[in-house]
Symmetry: D3
Subunit: 162 residues, 6 copies
């Protein structure tokens, strides 16, 4: 018997990159519904407001079936329980910090045994640029058109080159 | 709209360990149907026949909803296509070989873009013992009761201590 | 001929976690005397004062034979020499940063060939939560009772939720 | 037919260590010309001014054939193109962060397909101390004479112990 | 003053893959001359004879300026000295075994201080398939056309499917 | 109150290298007694007999206070219990396989909670050559005098070059 399978993809998305987008597309093929959940963490130093990040995500995921964009400011597992969704998605890039991802996933599991973290592997073509390296090279006038969607490229240029 | 979500968990399972079982249980909570697919690879040196491995898997997964046990002797992505299932599951242990897992997953993706590999993280309590270490310590009369299900423990004892 | 074997376990302990406590207990079984040495590093951003950290450590290690709590504000190897102790202890978590630990240990060895770093492996049940992740989830009202001793849990709640 | 082979070794060099110097010497044996390029990154928190870092580098590389010291404040690949040099050098220490180095190298390649990153392995005797650990132990009065050239040791002492 | 810069790229090449070919092309842009040196190691279990491996390499590198194919059956550093070439090239794949590569490079350096190992990073598009995984999937009738040059694909098919 | 502190350093030692010897020397400074325990594992493919390996170890450790050489053919934790020693020593080389070492240590801990594994870090000067690489380069007539003690060098030459 089929049940609706939903998953949450949490992150800062400051801003969304082609790597994030690749994970979202893969998640949307595996699950019926994917909630992209933007962390509204007041203490973290961000380039874009929560509103801007949500807006960019909505634009770039518009065509992908089953994807919603939301925000959260609690523990991600508390958010998952409120949404009654028991799957978290994380992208596991070849160049990512496994140790950190595992710490987070194990901590979340200890806090909520019923919420499962599922790791997807983004395409090797788009996955190596983290948001922080992206912002660094963008501030030095790099051509970032292959790292981010068009709408993000424009926002980043405006923000960083003023 | 909910569609039935199925996934394949391929492996040698020579024999199934508590770590495998943990992955199967997690997969069964994320997906509607989980096909545990035992590789019938004639060139690999195995302790148990394909029939014995299937039998042990069937016994230990009997109570888990949505789990089937099957065998395959082709490429796993060809098997996935024949079964019309587009998700592969791999357990990603903290002490596993990420590099090898990534090579396999990227190779499978290149061979079949439509089949997605999903990584689950088994419990840290049961995940560190690989089948090969298990067989080594079992052959030296170790108490393996915390590493494998009861039925496997008995089979291993019979096989290794004759 | 038996000599008294002492070791220093240096760290920030901001605050002490169940992972630290597990290392202390293991160290106390291997060595006759274990000095838990709290770094009084004025430049590092800490949540608890050196006095508070020492007090919590004293409370949670009270029952463990051979354990002392002390502070230091010099190089750890200079502290070791003053104490006439030639063994440093570090916990090596599966999810820890080996590279960083190795850099520190090799640097200390170059500075003091006579001081040996010994790595212990904390239990996989308690070792994955670093002090920084702990503080982050605690500030979001997570139930941290399985990550820290009772006395630390209370202090953290007071400090973070005011 | 031999062409002049030049390479750029970019970095912060805040300050230059024996590990950097080892990479420079190896690079000078592999290439005809090595440009040590000091990043003039205004946002990064540095201990020494760009002028001081260049001066120290010039002093310690004076005797090495084919080595020049320069500064840059753009993307390193834009600098490479202006210098008409298509090889970047990076030291790959056993204790370095491969993931980060690979992210940077892949990003640079995407931005400039014609610029190749070449990794050299510094000697295990000098390579484990990063500039940041160096500054930390130097500020605690460590004997750093085996980590940095004499001229740097003196500058560090003046700067940190005032 | 320009000197002719030569490098040796040693390996088993059983058979050459697109990943090897990518490294050869990058090496040929960095160095004037690249000697692809096929190890004639009698104890290692190989699929293709030394003659077949050399022939395939010659065919696929024919168009690349400065590339030669040769064989060696001694220590690679002894071969390098006989050829009067002081640079060894290794491809450093994101999914490769750094530890092993570093052991080999450090051992070679200890045996021959004057021979430098230089690591190149093959393209992420072609680098993840090792020769051993290639042979495994090829034996299961995978479409390997994106992993190896055309001539190698044909040879592999003949060899494995007889 | 001081108790005699003993530790077991288990391994194949086929043959003992300078890296092993470095670990033994460090262990002898940390513990009162160090039992170097040679695994008599009939299934593993070895170059030297158990008797030869013991003899070489005895020769090279003769001058080190508190060191004994012994053999075992059971589980190492069963051997430890028979010897009433509750500490196992493992060398943790920068280029070693952490994952495998952790699997073994966690498995041993599960089998015997009272036996603690302690990791020591051998000198970076001697630690990178594993016994298997050593044997490979020795068979190709490499000068191995910096990797092994004199007595082992002679035995290896005799054995491999006949």
């Amino acid at each position: 018997m089929a049940t609706l399978k939903a998953a949450i993809y949490p992150g800062s998305f400051d801003p969304v990159t082609n790597g994030h987008l690749d994970v979202i597309q893969r998640a949307a093929r595996v699950f019926d519904k994917v909630v992209v959940a933007v962390a509204n963490n007041s203490t973290k130093n961000v380039l874009f407001t929560i509103g801007e990040r949500v807006e960019m995500l909505k634009k770039v995921t518009k065509g992908i079936k089953g994807v919603e964009v939301d925000t959260f400011d609690s523990l991600v597992i508390d958010y998952a329980r409120r949404k009654k969704i028991n799957v978290l998605i994380r992208g596991l890039r070849m160049t990512s910090d496994f140790d950190y991802e595992f710490q987070i996933a194990l901590t979340n599991r200890r806090l909520a045994e019923d919420v499962e973290t599922v790791f997807l592997m983004p395409s090797e073509h788009v996955s190596f640029v983290s948001s922080s390296i992206l912002k660094e090279v963008a501030s030095l006038n790099a051509d970032i058109s292959s790292f981010v969607p068009k709408v993000v490229e424009e926002q980043l240029k405006k923000r960083l080159r003023r």
